[in-house]
């Protein structure tokens, strides 16, 4: 089918304004937020922006008949190339599907279209006293469909888990256009394979998510934020470890090393006590102020035993916001240290956190690179940022080898390649190492069963 015909056929389905096939638009839908080079751009032949599941189904049926690759796309804020149309074809943008269809207070569930921005979804539920906990750092702009497709994490994972833990059901359009409903509102549901779990985190390779049903919990009434400073990462990690072992589960426990901390202190003109080489930001939540106070008291006890240099409890909302801003400002502060930054995402068993941090330190030394580390200490997910100048070919080579070594280190301590960003394109080379041959073959069997022509997001995961 020629491109013109394809565009015309698609216009009949979604309307004239929602099919883009000019040069600039095709370029605009060729990238996401990963560190893949922008040029040469893997352009789609055409961008389609359907409004309904029925339109998505008709687009898929057309693509299936013609054997045309389809790459689903939300806000393209992914970090591993998941929405990059590697093999051309159709970029299927779901960002016009933005309705929150139902907030079911009785069952404590919400039904939404995939293009709803995650923070908007959170806010709509919070307005009714209900809580959708996953809060990926991108939640201001990333979409819930993208979050489900990538099984996004976030800062609250230590207490509340990740996106998968809230997905109760999905509406999915399969490769040939068939509409499939999985799961439902029944809390206990063991009828057949767990298809909801299968499509969650499938990175757009098994089907197109057109509706999500999510479980909610009561919104915690009180929240408090603490900032703890330590001499080094080992002390900070020890605090997190001992705190969790003592049964204190904060809603977030974010850690940053000395380089990250210094960068953010400079960025925000913040004074630090001498010798502070590690910062832990903790959020606690509960029923009321008394409960928070009790938790803070217990954390203080553990912190003192770990050699805490400074223990600060935010006194009001402004102070809480300021402490969180330190964490949220990290990426920009760290990025400002060098022309390029390759932010990675690895996840390790919680007790291996200090060990992998030490290994990354050794890798930085070996390849003569600055690699600050920050991350979600509470759940073992960390983000080493390789700071570099990719315009220098010799350095670029060292950077690639350092990234390889980081992944190796993660696997060596029993961890995995990705905590929350998926495999996409950027982590493909490491997949077999992480899953084993049998693991990869099993995934491929599932893929072949659901997408026999291989038109859904080709080139991703393997």
């Amino acid at each position: 089918m020629s491109v013109t015909t394809l565009s015309d056929e698609l216009r009949l389905i979604v309307g004239r304004d929602h099919v883009l096939d000019g040069e600039v638009d095709r370029f605009g839908y060729s990238y996401d937020s990963s560190f893949l080079p922008l040029v040469p751009a893997p352009r789609p032949d055409v961008v389609v922006r359907p409004r309904t599941a029925e339109e998505v189904s008709r687009v898929m049926a057309l693509a299936f008949a013609g054997g045309i690759p389809v790459t689903p796309r939300g806000a393209a804020s992914g970090r591993t190339g998941g929405s990059v149309p590697l093999h051309g074809g159709i970029s299927l943008a779901l960002d016009r599907m933005t309705d929150i269809l139902e907030v079911d207070e009785g069952n404590m569930m919400v039904t939404a279209e995939p293009g709803v921005r995650t923070m908007d979804l959170h806010d709509a539920c919070a307005a009714r006293g209900l809580f959708y906990p996953p809060d990926p750092a991108s939640w201001k702009f990333s979409t819930i469909g993208g979050n489900v497709a990538e099984n996004a994490g976030g800062m609250r994972a230590v207490k509340y888990g990740v996106t998968r833990d809230y997905v109760m059901g999905l509406q999915v359009v399969l490769a040939d256009g068939t509409l499939l409903e999985t799961g439902g509102k029944a809390i206990k549901n063991v009828t057949g394979y767990d298809l909801t779990g299968l499509f969650t985190g499938s990175e757009g390779t098994l089907g197109v998510i057109t509706r999500v049903l999510l479980r909610l919990i009561p919104l915690p009434k009180a929240r408090g934020v603490l900032r703890l400073l330590f001499a080094d990462m080992d002390a900070g990690c020890a605090l997190v470890h001992r705190m969790l072992k003592a049964g204190i589960v904060p809603s977030a426990a974010e850690i940053m090393d000395d380089v990250s901390l210094q960068a953010v202190a400079r960025h925000r003109r913040m004074a630090l006590p001498a010798g502070a080489g590690c910062c832990v930001i903790i959020e606690v939540d509960g029923e009321d102020a008394a409960e928070l106070e009790a938790q803070c008291g217990r954390i203080r006890g553990v912190a003192e035993a770990c050699g805490c240099l400074e223990f600060k409890v935010a006194q009001d909302k402004a102070e809480s916001d300021e402490l969180w801003a330190v964490r949220r400002g990290l990426s920009q502060a760290v990025a400002a240290l060098a022309p390029n930054r390759l932010g990675e995402d690895i996840s390790v068993p919680r007790d291996a956190f200090p060990e992998v941090v030490r290994r990354i330190g050794a890798i930085a030394k070996r390849f003569d690179l600055l690699i600050p580390v920050f991350g979600h200490a509470g759940d073992g997910n960390l983000h080493p940022s390789v700071l570099c100048d990719m315009a220098d070919p010799a350095q670029a080579e060292r950077v690639h080898r350092a990234v390889d070594a980081i992944f190796e280190a993660a696997l060596a301590v029993g961890g995995t390649l990705s905590g929350e960003h998926g495999i996409g394109i950027t982590k493909r080379p490491y997949l077999a190492q992480a899953l084993g041959e049998a693991g990869v073959r099993t995934l491929q069997a599932v893929k072949a069963g659901l997408d026999p022509k291989g038109i859904l997001n080709p080139g991703k995961i393997w």
Partner: protein, 401 residues
């Protein structure tokens, strides 16, 4: 690769394509495709620089589809200056095409010539008196700008039931008024009100200055921009303070120094000039200006992009308005109104949709007057005021304090 593309690429190097800008871009709100957003434009700049995109009419259309409002830069975690990058890409495309398009060349030439601006102002003044303004092509003067509307909207303090503010003695600095083309052509009464305010604070001169050059810079006529800048630097050399009541002129003049930093002959003169430029509201607050009386009118303020983000001036106009009447802040007060230089002429449909959002924010405050400090914004807000059917008026800040 041209030096300009190289510069643009360096400016956007900090963009990691996260998408934060998509939530704040006024253009993305009315046309939500990638090319509208700052992320899309940053990628476009890099694509051009790296040879992944061929410059053509489509690319040109995309880089011109930007308000240069800096909302993206403000929200960006890495503060990527997309507007500065776009100005360079526009210049590159213009150089490559052998000059700007006919429209920009005409507008550019007209604004370049002091005589033409003067004649234009005279002609518009005459048309205004005769009520014939509606005969002009709407691309140059908004059609919603007939004499009646002009008088209703810009009658000055008299319309508010009070006299022009009495003078308060000020410092003895040699204050000079920089009059922008927009003020000269469209809002002579507001410009007069400004002069009255300045005159009330001390001696003020009003040299016959040429255009600040911002329209030329924005549309790939950097050579003309630099010529105009030199003329202005020389013209205002004797002044201690240069005050302007146009946010865009102020923003451009304050940044002139950046454009001469590698020019040995002009570097110091340009830096000295930029250092003495003040926005009217900034000057008034600094000079301790007090409103003669506090009226009962309710005001809201629309922050011009070139004032709020371009110069970091947000507090001063509010302070002045709070002293002059009741003040209510509006939702998204600093979101672009869609005027954006010539944007409202090039993309009237899009500009109208952006303005509709602004109008609903204004109406939600219940304010009788929306005040601003930029003639470009004032043109747009006057349109909104007309469409509101008398629910609010639009005025320049010099006319209400």
């Amino acid at each position: 690769m041209s030096g300009l593309l190289e510069e643009a690429k360096a400016l956007v190097a900090g963009c990691d394509r996260c998408g934060t800008c998509l939530t704040v871009c006024p253009l993305f709100k009315v046309r939500d495709v990638e090319r509208s957003s700052a992320r899309g434009k940053n990628a476009l700049a890099r694509g051009l620089a790296e040879g992944g995109l061929e410059p053509g009419p489509e690319v040109r259309g995309a880089v011109e589809f930007c308000l240069l409002c800096r909302a993206c830069t403000d929200a960006c975690p890495n503060k990527v200056p997309t507007d500065e990058a776009m100005v360079r890409v526009r210049q590159h495309l213009t150089d490559r095409a052998g000059g700007p398009t006919v429209t920009y060349r005409l507008v550019g030439a007209a604004l370049r010539s002091r005589a033409a601006v003067g004649l234009g102002a005279l002609a518009l003044g005459a048309l205004r008196r005769l009520g014939l303004l509606r005969l002009l092509p709407s691309a140059l003067v908004p059609k919603e700008f007939p004499r009646k509307a002009f008088l209703a909207a810009f009658a000055g303090p008299a319309a508010l039931g009070g006299e022009a503010p009495a003078a308060t003695p000020g410092a003895h600095a040699r204050v000079a008024y920089f009059q922008g083309c927009g003020m000269k052509l469209m809002f002579p009464d507001a410009a007069e009100a400004t002069l009255k305010l300045l005159g009330g604070l001390g001696e003020v001169s009003a040299p016959d200055n040429p255009c600040c050059g911002l329209p030329h810079l924005a549309h790939g006529m950097k050579g003309t921009f630099l010529e105009l800048a030199r003329e202005n630097i020389a013209l205002f050399e004797e002044a201690d303070v240069v005050v302007t009541d146009c946010a865009s002129c102020g923003g451009a003049l304050k940044h002139l120094a950046d454009h001469f930093k590698d020019d040995g002959a002009w570097r110091d003169r340009a830096a000295a000039f930029s250092a003495k430029v003040l926005d009217l509201t900034e000057f008034l607050v600094r000079a301790g200006y007090r409103s003669p009386s506090r009226g009962e009118r309710t005001f809201t303020f629309h922050d011009p992009c070139h004032l709020a983000r371009g110069q970091g001036i947000r507090r001063q106009p509010r302070q002045l308005l709070e002293a002059a009447g009741r003040f209510v802040d509006m939702r998204e007060a600093d979101t672009c109104c869609g005027g954006a230089g010539t944007f409202h002429m090039d993309h009237p449909g899009t500009a109208a949709r952006i303005l509709a959002r602004k109008a609903s924010s204004i109406e939600a405050t219940g304010a009788e007057v929306v005040v601003t400090a930029c003639p470009g914004c004032l043109i747009q807000l006057t349109r909104a005021a007309e469409a509101s059917g008398g629910r609010f008026k639009a005025m320049h800040i010099s006319q209400v304090i």
